[in-house]
């Protein structure tokens, strides 16, 4: 197996764990808060899901830089200046900063959740989107999606979480 194939496998596993982890964080959160409290067992499940998500993020970064190294050594670096590539890098940066803001409680949990969920799916979509000549509509769709997902999550939590 050559380095390129190994990196592709690593990148796919990272994306699967990240997108899956981000999805399950939301599912667990809604389920866990149905009775209004987070039990130790529910908290442990959440922590496990966060660990899966972090492993996915780490694999994604590591394999991503692996692609960059291969491209640099092979001198195929034209795509380093592509707007789509920098959008993907920015989204990865947003995922990391958002995780920090959630931990610091500098951002409301529902906004943080919406940003995390949309960013992970956006990274996935950007990874498979090829031949986009004018990618400037992507940030518009990305920001709009965050608002839509925020409203959906708010409705979900209102429906399933008891209010005191």
């Amino acid at each position: 197996m050559d380095a390129q194939t190994l990196l592709i496998i690593m990148h796919i596993i990272g994306t699967v764990l990240g997108v899956g982890g981000a999805t399950f964080v939301e599912i667990h959160l809604v389920r866990a808060l149905r009775d209004g409290v987070l039990s130790p067992e529910e908290s442990a499940i959440m922590q496990t899901t966060y660990t899966v998500l972090r492993v996915g993020f780490f694999l994604l970064i590591l394999s991503g830089f692996g692609f960059l190294i291969l491209a640099r050594l092979g001198e195929h670096t034209t795509w380093f200046y592509s707007i789509k590539f920098w959008m993907k890098l920015s989204i990865v940066g947003i995922i990391a900063v958002n995780a920090m803001f959630i931990q610091l409680r500098w951002i409301p949990i529902l906004w943080g959740s919406a940003i995390a969920l949309v960013s992970w799916y956006a990274a996935l979509v950007l990874g498979v989107l090829h031949g986009v000549k004018e990618p400037l509509w992507i940030p518009v769709v990305y920001v709009a999606s965050i608002f839509v997902v925020y409203i959906m999550l708010r409705q979900l939590h209102r429906r399933f979480t008891p209010h005191h």
């Binding site: 970064i61 830089f65 960059l68 670096t77 200046y81 890098l89 920090m100």
Partner: protein, 149 residues
């Protein structure tokens, strides 16, 4: 590029990346209400080691190869600013990061003995600065590499 130089370049990038991951782990623990300082000490010390090793492998590549073989190509390309602005900034900012990591490590050693809210906040701020500068250096590396055509 010879195998040794390619290895030095790969090590420079991977070790720097792992060093940044370690400082990120330290930061994520430092911003908790009750950080596990034993973990923060190990993570920040690992960051120092990996960043210094990245320095060493990067130094070999830059001293023996970049200046003679890569820099002239970038200056002759359509993106001379990639060296004149980005690389010049990168090579100076890069010097700061291990020292910031050392400050986080020493602070976490002190915090393990005596918890102090102000020192914890300062250590987290220094770790965040190291991480932000590290991300800048990584992005700068991509921009410089992209100009080699």
């Amino acid at each position: 590029m010879s195998t040794i130089l390619a290895s030095a370049l790969i090590l420079h990038i991977v070790l720097g990346l792992v060093g940044l991951a370690c400082i990120h782990f330290a930061l994520m623990q430092l911003i908790r209400r009750e950080p596990p300082y034993g973990f923060v000490v190990k993570a920040s010390f690992s960051a120092v080691v990996f960043l210094l090793l990245s320095w060493a492998s990067g130094a070999y590549y830059y001293v023996t190869y970049y200046g003679n073989a890569v820099k002239p190509r970038i200056l002759d390309s359509a993106y001379p600013w990639a060296h004149q602005v980005i690389m010049e900034s990168k090579e100076h900012v890069f010097l700061l990061i291990p020292f910031l990591a050392i400050a986080v490590w020493l602070s976490s050693l002190a915090l393990r003995k005596n918890d102090n809210v102000n020192l914890k906040t300062a250590a987290a701020a220094v770790a965040a600065a190291a991480l932000a500068l590290g991300v800048f250096v990584a992005a700068a590396g991509i921009i410089v590499s992209g100009a080699v055509r």
